[in-house]
C-alpha cells in the first residue's frame, strides 16, 4: 500500500519536474529564437504569483486556531496573486501588440508560463494534501 503511494509520489514529482523544464524551455526558446529577451519577465511574474498568497496566508493565521483569523490579509494575497497571473498573460500580449516581440514568441512564452505556473500550483496542492494526511 505504502509502496504504491510512494511510486505514485515519485512518478508525479518526476512528471511535474519534466513539465517545469518544458515550460522553462518554451520560454527560453521564445526569447532565444528571435534574439530579444523581453519574454523572460513572464517567468518572473509566474514565479512571483504564489508568493503573496503564501506570505499573506501566514499573516492571516489560518494555520493556528488560537490566533484570530484576519481575512483582510488573505484577501490581499489572493488579490495580488490574481493580479500577477493576469500580468503574466497580458505582458506578452502587450509586447506583441507593440511589435517588440513576434506573435509566435508570444504564444510560446504564454504557454511556457502556463506550464510553469501549473507546475507550481499542482506541486503546492500536492504537498498541502500530503501534509494533512
Amino acid at each position: 500500500m505504502t509502496a504504491d503511494v510512494d511510486t505514485f509520489l515519485y512518478n508525479s514529482v518526476i512528471g511535474l519536474s519534466f513539465v517545469l523544464a518544458l515550460g522553462f524551455l518554451l520560454v527560453i526558446m521564445s526569447c532565444a529564437l528571435y534574439g530579444n529577451w523581453w519574454p523572460l519577465f513572464v517567468v518572473a511574474t509566474y514565479v512571483l504569483a504564489p508568493l503573496p498568497n503564501a506570505i499573506f496566508g501566514r499573516c492571516a493565521g489560518r494555520e493556528d486556531i488560537m490566533s484570530d483569523y484576519q481575512g483582510g490579509f488573505a484577501d490581499a494575497g489572493y488579490f495580488l496573486t490574481g493580479l500577477m497571473i493576469v500580468t503574466g498573460f497580458c505582458l506578452p500580449v502587450v509586447l506583441a501588440h507593440a511589435h517588440v516581440i513576434t506573435v509566435p514568441a508570444m504564444i510560446m512564452s504564454i504557454s511556457g508560463g502556463l506550464l510553469i505556473y501549473g507546475t507550481i500550483i499542482s506541486y503546492s496542492r500536492f504537498f498541502a494534501e500530503d501534509d494533512s494526511f
Binding site: D75, G82, V86, L91, V94
Partner: protein, 186 residues
C-alpha cells in the same frame, strides 16, 4: 425565498419594493471572487498600458491627425484606483455599526464616518468611469480621429469599467467575511 427578498417583518426596509440582498457566497466562491477581482483589476490596467504604449510609438507619417495618450487619459484610471483603495480600506463591520439608529451611542459616529468614506470612494470610482466616457467622447469621437485613435479612448473606458467591476466583485466577496471567523469562533 423570504430570506432572499427580505420579506420578513423583522427587517425594516425603506423602499416599497423589496430589494434583493447581496448574495452570500460560500468560502470557496469567496476566495474565487477575490482572485477574479484581482485579475480584472490587472486586466483593466493592462488594456490602458497597451493603449499608452501603442500611442507612444505610433508612426504619424501616414496622414492621420495627430493625437496621443496624454496625462488627461491617465486621470480616470487613477481616480478609479483611488476610489477602489478607499472603499476597500473601510472596515465592513463599521458600516453596520448602528443597526439601532437615532440613538446617540458611541458607534453611531464611527458608522457615519465610514459611510462618508464609502460615499467618497464610490464617487471617485463613478467619476473615473464617467471621466473615461467623457474623454472618449470629447477628445476622440467629436474631434473625428480615425480608427486606431478611437480605440485608445475605448480602452480607457474598458479599463475603468473593469476596475469598477473588480471593486464590485471584491465588495460582494468581502461581505461574506464572517463565515470563516464564525466557524472558528465555535
Amino acid at each position: 425565498m423570504s430570506s432572499q427578498w427580505n420579506l420578513n417583518e423583522h427587517h425594516k426596509r425603506i423602499c416599497l419594493f423589496p430589494i434583493p440582498r447581496i448574495p452570500r457566497l460560500g468560502p470557496r466562491a469567496r476566495d474565487a471572487g477575490v482572485y477574479i477581482s484581482g485579475a480584472l483589476f490587472a486586466l483593466g490596467w493592462w488594456f490602458f498600458i497597451d493603449a499608452a504604449i501603442r500611442s507612444k510609438n505610433w508612426n504619424y507619417d501616414d496622414g492621420y491627425k495627430k493625437t496621443s495618450v496624454q496625462f488627461v487619459d491617465w486621470v480616470p484610471g487613477i481616480c478609479s484606483t483611488l476610489g477602489m483603495i478607499v472603499i476597500n480600506c473601510i472596515d465592513k463591520a463599521a458600516l453596520r455599526g448602528d443597526s439601532f439608529s437615532f440613538s446617540s451611542g458611541g458607534g453611531t459616529s464611527v458608522a457615519w464616518k465610514a459611510r462618508v468614506f464609502l460615499f467618497v470612494g464610490f464617487a471617485f470610482m463613478a467619476g473615473g468611469l464617467a471621466g473615461s466616457v467623457s474623454i472618449l467622447c470629447i477628445k476622440y469621437l467629436i474631434s473625428g480621429y480615425g480608427e486606431p485613435f478611437v480605440s485608445w479612448g475605448i480602452y480607457n473606458v474598458v479599463q475603468n469599467a473593469a476596475i469598477m467591476t473588480s471593486a464590485a466583485i471584491l465588495w460582494v466577496a468581502q461581505n461574506t467575511e464572517s463565515e470563516y471567523q464564525y466557524n472558528f469562533a465555535i
